[in-house]
């Protein structure tokens, strides 16, 4: 060590620089190639191979069928339809059970319990009527479909089928500047957008991943399906003769879903050509070998990793929402409830775009969870229009037994066919719920992308509703 060791030696630097020129620019390439040669050599020495792989042949036969022109798409539609059918049908019974247990029995039980202990109404109101009820609602609506949908989806993934779906659909997404794997994150979004956002981790290209995150909300999530189905049967199904009502309202929901897919492609296309034009992008899609799904393992991981985490976040967000719902309905300023003040100021805007102030307020306080939009709407309509004999008090969520009763209530609240159609549109095209937004923030680490993912669908929603309303009024006249 001499005294000059802390100052860079000029001559060494000069030699290093000269060497850099000599090595040139293909350094990374040749290092990688050498690494692979060495890895192959080692693998060749230490790996023992046992004859011809039988499974590989089976894989090839399966691949030939599943990616063939004749069977590729039909198989895909059948399998996805089966997953959705199982989810919707299978969730009915446990949902009703949970609802009976948590809402119909749990809520009165807690009310009477707090009454028995002499808890004042201003404590039991916000806690039991507000917080508890919203949480119970979210759990009973959300848990069963997710507990069925996610394991089924994970089974398909585990089997190795889902990468083949991405493989087959990539040509569509490529045209929109997106990645074929976005088909999978979209499908996951039909279960829950927050889970859909998390699943975009499978897309390793930065640009395509952001596109998938920003457009996931156009996949109608499980919290919005019930709204769509209810409104479609109340407002659109009744237009058809009774024996066709079911089919017509189902078609209306399918139309909304297709509209969502159209917006996914449109917005992906626009994003990849404007703000994300310069973001780095690459494509590769591994097609893992097929393997028998490990059912127990799948059940465990999908319940823990997807269902419970998403449910927990939803509950955490729903609790304060319930509180807010109770508070805006019960705090009065100048003899009029806070909710009424807000509804009155939102009404002009709401009516202009073919909705109303109550719907807008419901969507503001239901930001934490789309599941409570309908109960919030019903409660606010009763509260605001002073309809007697329905509901159980200000700020207390409720649901009616039959769609017909809901229809009567909503018609009394001044709803028209336009309101119904626009509510379906707005339910598809509005900001993601707070759970999803928080997930987007966690995944992107950026306030900008989080804000954008809320603003894009919201602006589209307001624009679409506005134009539909004006054209409707000109054509139909009401």
């Amino acid at each position: 060590m001499n005294g000059r060791s802390d100052t860079p030696n000029k001559s060494i630097l000069a030699v290093a620089n000269a060497l850099r020129w000599e090595i040139g620019e293909g350094l990374h390439d040749s290092v990688t190639a050498d690494l692979y040669r060495e890895a192959e050599r080692i693998a060749g020495v230490v790996t023992a191979r046992s004859g011809k792989g039988q499974r590989l042949d089976l894989d090839r036969i399966l691949d030939r069928i599943l990616t063939s022109r004749a069977f590729g798409f039909p198989t895909m539609f059948l399998l996805l339809a089966l997953v959705f059918w199982l989810t919707i049908e299978g969730a009915n019974v446990p949902s009703a059970l949970l609802s009976t247990l948590l809402v119909d029995q749990g809520h009165p039980f807690l009310k009477s319990l707090s009454a028995a202990f002499g808890v004042p109404w201003w404590v039991s109101g916000p806690l039991v009527d507000g917080t508890y009820l919203a949480m119970a609602w979210v759990v009973s609506v959300m848990l069963p479909p997710m507990a069925i949908f996610f394991p089924l989806f994970t089974l398909l993934e585990d089997f190795g089928y889902l990468p083949r779906v991405a493989f087959n659909l990539d040509f569509l997404f490529r045209k929109a500047g997106a990645h074929g794997k976005q088909a999978l994150t979209m499908a996951m979004g039909y279960g829950c957008n927050a889970a859909g956002i998390v699943s975009t981790r499978i897309i390793d290209s930065p640009r395509e991943r952001l596109i998938a995150i920003l457009t996931n909300n156009f996949a109608l999530c499980n919290g919005r399906w019930p709204t769509q189905i209810l409104i479609a049967s109340i407002f659109i199904g009744v237009l058809a003769p009774p024996y066709l009502a079911g089919a017509v309202s189902a078609l209306a929901v399918v139309a909304v879903v297709l509209l969502g897919i159209a917006f996914t492609f449109l917005v992906s296309w626009m994003l990849s050509r404007t703000i994300l034009r310069g973001t780095a992008s690459t494509f590769s899609l591994e097609l893992p070998p097929y393997r028998p799904p490990r059912i127990l393992h799948t059940l465990y991981t999908s319940l823990i990793d997807r269902t419970l985490i998403v449910l927990w976040r939803a509950v955490v967000w729903a609790a304060p929402a319930g509180l807010v719902i109770w508070l805006v309905s019960n705090i009065s300023i100048g003899g009029v409830s806070l909710a009424a003040h807000v509804v009155q100021s939102l009404d002009p805007l709401g009516l202009l775009i073919g909705l109303n102030g109550i719907i807008l307020l419901a969507y503001v306080i239901a930001i934490p969870a789309n599941e409570i939009v309908i109960p919030t709407l019903l409660m606010l309509t009763v509260l605001f229009h002073g309809i007697a004999d329905v509901g159980t008090g200000a700020g207390v969520l409720f649901e009616l037994d039959s769609p017909a009763a809901v229809a009567d209530l909503l018609h009394a609240g001044g709803w028209t066919l336009l309101t119904g159609i626009n509510l379906m549109l707005f339910s598809l095209l509005h900001n993601p719920c707070s759970t999803t937004l928080y997930t987007i923030y966690r995944e992107t680490g950026s306030v900008k992308w989080t804000l954008l993912s809320a603003l894009i669908p919201l602006v589209i929603g307001f624009t679409v509703c506005f134009f539909v309303a004006q054209v409707w009024r000109i054509v139909v006249g009401v």
Partner: protein, 344 residues
Amino acid sequence: MPDPLLALSIGIGVMGAAAYVLWPRSGLIARFQQGFLRAKRVLMEDALKHLYDFEYRNLSSTLESIAGALGINGDEAAALVTRLETLGLIVRRQADLGLTAAGRSYALRIVRIHRLWERYLADETNVSEPDWHREAERREHYMTGEETERLSKYLGNPLYDPHGDPIPTSFGTLPGPRGTSLASLEEGRSATVVHVEDEPSSIYAQLVAQNIYPGLLVRTIEKSSKRIVLEAGGNDIVLAPVVAANVSVVPHEQRIREDRLHRTLGDLRPGESARVVGIAPACKGLQRRRLMDLGIVPGTTIVAELESVGGDPVAFRIQEASVALRRQQANFVFVEEISSGGNV
């Protein structure tokens, strides 16, 4: 509630106004950004760059050439030159304008930032090739010295910009000429063209006419004192040795066949196999790294396995894994020894 017809027209009006403001490249915001490029400092820097460029190419720059290069009129150019002169950055000579030492160092700093940015855009982003220059033109004026060094370090202190031009170092020095003369390349050896000398212009014109440009892969197939015959891009090119002396090349260590074959992974039919020769230079940055990480390196044997429903992407068996690539990527990978032997 307002009259729906009125509301509809207002709505359409608002949409139109929003499009007018936000439209990419031609909207108000985009034009506002372009307006900044006409700011005084930006013009000064562009003028210095122009002078440096002409000096490098041994051309003489004048008021007219500045006005032409910057898209301003003669009066503006005169004012600009006067300003640069009072700042001591340029000097007027009898016939033309020249850079002072301070002016040259300033110009080199801007050139450095410009080429670094082009390198960054080419390697790390998806900005398309025609946009590199435009984007770098915009950004070169807004970088502090510290930011420039950070960018250079992030890129691994690159030596050349994606067009093959050397990037000036932070001390303002340019690397010396690289490669050896094409005239000295042994017969049968292949090489990459790295530089084409543009002086004297008669020889340069000849080289341009023969379609010789930096990045081209060539191989000498015949060499005598009278002429040099090259094979490049599938054609034979005949050059006089004195002309060939003006082309610098870097000889290859191994024989490269991609110049002749031009067969790519994209040409493989399902069931066919081939050996990788290399990845096209046009495939850069993340895209290139990804392909190499998948095991697409020279010497690897790849089998085309199956096409998707739409025919694109195609799944390939690479290093015993099945990986789907889009046709656009597969076309980047040069291959040889295509065989239909189904040793999948």
